[in-house]
């Protein structure tokens, strides 16, 4: 399209500015794929390149058009949305925990608060045998990875703090064998009374709590990752706490991945001291749904992703690492790349800022009258509108699909699939002669035949078809709420409402009659109309899918808002460094464009850098490489003087080669050996070979094979 062509030259500068702030992920990718020579040399020269190329080619100085800023604004919106959502996911768990904390605090203090003297004495207060029990909340992390939950526990701590508790967060680093019980006590005291001592014992905590602590607020100790703690230290710690729990109302909260973790980690007599209760954090899947909804489905910021990208992201989440963090990171990379590649995407910056339609049109027309013909503006409005519809439909589907455990991510993938829509649309166009309302059955079949069987969408619709009355009415209500601001959908939903009401009434009446009769009556009498209701609802959903769920890629100008380049994203995410290193060692001439060794990469030449020579030679050996043979072959390669490549070597940019060519005559054995050692060391550092073992001192072992 014209726009892309126009701003092709401008594309490098924004890119540079864009990947300043996503350096770590973006790098491998940049170093690998060749774009233009200047960057290439930069890539080859150093490993941690930050391509701060002077953006000479940037023409526009309009702040609104700086893609960097645009990216900032858009991403900030997405980010904030995600953050809120995640917080909301946890709130009810937090409330649950807090109420539990309260009641267990009452239970602890029920036996009577000890006086100051008692509390600070060294000997225990005598009570019933169970009074040494330590109330423990086991917070189930439903994820093998711990990354997502670090934040969660921080927030939990803050939450409890805000509810007048003394909170300290311990991590497995504090509870390691290295610094022992003293270590975690030390960090406890550091967090509670903000002093660092070298000799710490828990009596200090007691006296502090009695002197300065709030007498009616518990002391809460959060151990973030219980499995990772060292067993002995943790058990000692718990025993110590349980000795003092009468004097200091302490409550323990531990994050565990599986419920039987405590049994495996702690010995029995320690378990005896715990009086546990369980809380479950939101599983990654539902969090993911929430995030997807916030970031992608409801069009909060102009940015959206294409079908392939969505699929890739989904697979990445499912297959590689199931952490939300990585998903969000991937999203961010996608966003950044989009803004770096797509020149017009900077419009989204504006799109993101303005909300109401007309202002946006004004802003656009005013802002970009310079470059763009004004019909783009209308296209954008169209784009935005259809996106809204699309999002709403997807949400409706999701609400329906929830009853049959449909993940929003899968739903999204299917909903973004353009060709499904195309097929449906074409089909409707053919039979558009008939009016909008087609008989439900045929319509249903028609809509369904393009959707994948047991694909999430059709699942959702099927679910609607056999949904009992009360959830159905809830579903409809939720639909109504969703569709408030799109009229034509909303009315259709409203049409269904009264029937539901009537249905409700029936069911309510039947509730008074006894169960068995109710069943019979339901099956007998009103199976029919309930069926019809469900049918209608399903039809409505199908129609919505057909009419309003236009995937973004079927809309003109979607390139502005939609990021589709999977390969870039993939290579940026799954960098696969080991493979990368090997490839670069073999195809080094991709980077240093020296004429001498460009033509042939697989037969080693004298002019090649030593490391790649060595590695190329290593290819010939098995998994064990005899150092002596290696050195000999290396020597033969380096020694044989081919005048051509020496001449080439002169203007080659590689420093070592120049040196070599200069004192080529007095190149001594020793210098060769030095170079060999250096090369071997580099290979070892890059993790391609392993140093000789004791048994076979003259052999190195290859660690990495193949690509």
């Amino acid at each position: 399209m014209t726009a892309t062509k126009a701003c092709d030259s401008a594309s490098t500068a924004p890119e540079s500015s864009a990947n300043d702030n996503i350096q770590p992920f973006y790098l491998l990718h940049k170093a690998s794929t060749p774009r233009n020579s200047g960057r290439k040399s930069a890539a080859a020269r150093t490993i941690d390149l930050s391509p701060s190329k002077p953006s000479s080619s940037t023409t526009t100085t309009n702040p609104q058009f700086d893609p960097h800023k645009a990216f900032q604004s858009v991403w900030s919106r997405i980010d904030s949305a995600i953050k809120d959502v995640l917080r909301d996911v946890n709130t009810n768990v937090f409330n649950e925990i807090h109420s539990w904390v309260r009641q267990s605090f009452l239970a602890v203090t029920s036996s009577g608060v000890p006086t100051f003297a008692e509390a600070t004495k060294s000997f225990p207060i005598l009570n019933h045998a169970t009074s040494k029990q330590l109330f423990t909340g086991l917070v189930l992390i439903k994820n093998m990875e711990f990354v997502d939950d670090l934040l969660t526990f921080e927030e939990l701590g803050l939450f409890l703090k805000s509810h007048a508790c003394h909170v300290a967060n311990l991590s497995s680093l504090d509870l390691s064998t290295k610094n022992g019980v003293g270590g975690c006590l030390r960090s406890l005291l550091r967090q509670f009374l903000t002093v660092t001592l070298d000799a710490v014992d828990i009596s200090i905590l007691a006296s502090w709590y009695r002197e300065y602590g709030n007498p009616n607020s518990p002391v809460i100790i959060i151990v973030e990752d219980m499995e990772r703690c060292s067993r002995s230290v943790l058990s000692d710690f718990i025993l110590m706490l349980s000795e003092w729990v009468v004097k200091i109302p302490m409550i323990l909260i531990m994050g565990v991945t599986t419920l039987d973790a405590p049994k495996t980690v702690l010995p029995s007599h320690v378990l005896q001291q715990l009086c546990p209760s369980k809380f479950t954090l939101g599983s990654p899947a539902e969090r993911m749904d929430a995030v997807v909804e916030a970031a992608l489905v409801r069009w909060c910021s102009g940015f959206s992703i294409g079908h392939k990208v969505a699929v890739f992201l989904r697979n990445y989440f499912l297959n590689h690492d199931g952490t939300l963090a990585s998903f969000i990171r991937a999203l961010k990379i996608a966003c950044a790349q989009h803004f770096s590649i797509e020149p017009l995407s900077s419009v989204l910056g504006l799109l993101a800022e303005e909300d109401s339609e007309d202002e946006r049109v004004l802003a656009l027309s005013s802002g970009m009258a310079a470059q763009i013909d004004s019909n783009l503006a209308s296209c954008l409005t169209e784009l935005k509108r259809s996106q809204k519809c699309w999002g709403i439909v997807v949400m409706c589907l999701y609400k329906a699909g929830k009853y049959s455990k449909v993940q929003l991510l899968d739903l999204l993938c299917e909903a973004l699939d353009p060709d499904i829509y195309k097929s449906i649309a074409s089909d409707t166009r053919t039979r558009s002669g008939k009016g909008f309302e087609i008989s439900s059955s045929s319509n249903h079949s028609m809509a369904q035949q393009y959707l994948r069987k047991d694909g999430p969408i059709s699942q959702a619709i099927e679910k609607v078809r056999d949904l009992p009355a009360s959830p159905l009415s809830q579903l409809l209500k939720s639909w109504e709420n969703l569709t408030v601001d799109i009229l034509e959908i909303n009315v259709k939903v409203k049409e269904l409402q009264p029937m539901i009401k009537l249905e409700e009434g029936k069911s309510l009446k039947q509730d008074f009659t006894d169960l068995a009769k109710r069943h019979t009556s339901r099956t007998a009498a009103n199976i029919k109309e309930s069926k019809t209701i469900n049918e209608k609802a399903a039809t409505l959903l199908a129609n919505l899918v057909r009419d309003f769920m236009r995937p973004i890629e079927c809309i003109p100008f979607h390139e502005i808002a939609c990021f589709k380049d999977v390969e870039k994203l993939q290579s940026a995410l799954t960098g696969d460094p080991r493979r990368r290193i090997q490839v670069d060692l073999l195809e080094f001439h991709e980077f240093l464009r020296c004429k001498c060794c460009s033509r042939s990469c697989n037969i080693p030449l004298q002019s090649m850098p030593d490391t790649s020579i060595m590695y190329t030679l290593a290819q010939e050996h098995g998994d064990l490489i005899n150092l002596h043979d290696w050195f000999q072959s290396f020597k033969t390669i380096v020694m044989n003087p081919s005048s051509k490549c020496r001449r080439k070597g002169k203007q080659s940019s590689f420093p070592k080669k120049r040196k070599e060519t200069n004192e080529h005559e007095n190149k001594s054995e020793s210098s060769l050996q030095a170079r060999l050692c250096r090369a071997v060391t580099e290979l070892q550092i890059t993790g391609l070979i392993r140093m000789p073992s004791k048994r076979r001192p003259d052999f190195v072992q290859r660690v990495a094979f193949g690509l």
């Binding site: 006086t115 600070t120 060294s122 086991l138 093998m144 009374l193 110590m240 993938c413 799954t574």
Partner: protein
Amino acid sequence: MGKEESPQIERRSTRHSSATISKNEAGTKSNEPLPPTVNDLFYGEEEKPISLDDVVSSFPGRRIQIIELMRVLGPVNCPMVPLFIYGDSSTGKTSITLQIFRHLNRPFVYSSCLTCYSPRILFESILNQLLLHRKSMANSYLSAKRCERPSDFVNFLREALISITSNLQGNSGKSGSKKLDRRASGNMIYLIFDNLERVREWDKSSIMLPFLLNLYDILKMPEVGLIFISNTSPDTYYSSMGYAEPTPVYFPDYKEDDLRQIFVKNQENKKLYSSFLDVVLKPFYRITRRVDELSTAFSQLYKKYCEPLSDLGVVPNEEMKRRLFSNLQPHIAPSMNEIFKVSSQPSTDIGATKEAKQKSSSKKSGLEVTDQLDLHMSTSAKYLLISAFLASRNPATLDASLFDSTGGSDSRKRKRKPSEKTSEQKEAAEQELLMKGPGTFPLERLLAIFQCITSVAEGSLEEEEQGSDGLRVQVGDNSLMSDVLLQLSSLCNANFIVKGVSCPLEGSTRYRSTICEDMALKVARSLKFPLSKYLYRR
């Protein structure tokens, strides 16, 4: 209230506003730290220390031990040889000792080697108590003396003891005239070391333990009494150099009727509870005899027992007992096998229901993964976990036959041959598995197996994906391979795979998978991976 109290209270009231005077004694005491006095060496500031009968009655089945202790401690001011109290945990050693001191009302210094987890902490806490020093914000939570070496400790201890005993003599002389009941304390001071068994783990140089046990001979101060309290019998304290054996007092575990008395003692409805005990005590008594364990078990059972009752004040008659028993009956056996799991199971109802659901689902072995494996793992992590499981279960020699590219049916017969051939070898292998548990394996082997099973599974996955939807962009095994090391590390973090100590750069670390079989099966089921086909059955 000790006579030392009253002047302080005057002082305080003079110091503070009149509000504090109007404020009642307990209030001020609980709120404000008093400057520590000699009184802090006594059990408490009660006006009347409890009588010996109270002590005896409050500890059922401990009369003999109490008498014995009293005898060893002897009347006022008579010196004693070191005393060694031992017995299983929760047999009332500490409580009884403290109560006796409360009764005798003599000064003592208590320090638990559990709370004082290192020599230095122990020394300093003892010295703090003797020097009447309390850590607080004022002294920035530092202890009175900094002392790490036993030698310094002995010197400090001598000074402190001398000063304190003279102090005691002084005020016992003073108060002996006034309040005889209060200050019958004499001028002896007792050092109590609780949880002595912890000391054995402190230093492998084994100086600490002989030092403590010889402390009496080192100090040579007759007015100091040493009392050691330990979970383990004196014969477990062998050290390279011997020590003068202290005189032992043994606390045996509670007998059944003692337990009965203990449990009934603090119940509001004794009749009901005893009828409850008739049911539960005997079976549980066969498993454990510890008060704390039993009490946790009973507290939950008792709830169940009382469920049908409207008011808990009721005195049960025979047939009611029978009814209660009949509805408790089903719960006893499970809770006897659960008792220990209960201790780490959720007590909240959600959890309970959740558990139930899991059990049922695992019974019917339904296909939905969410119930099976309530833990999110990425696919590659799952494969990695499975391959680790295989690597640690299967003997390495069989890998070749198990994981050839075909991987499938013919590998079965190939692996059956050796197993049939040598049965005694099989025995040995079984024994070995029983002994060693899951075997260890190097990283390379893990990766190899991972390659194989992913390549196989990818194939199957591919076509079934093709069948269902063409959604997937290419997820070749290399893309599964890509960050396998990261996955491995996170698996190690989650304790599914434990890692032997070695240099990581060398790559010669050996790993071992700790997950149990059904967990692995769950994972495999969630991947639809035929684990059993690859598992080498002995």
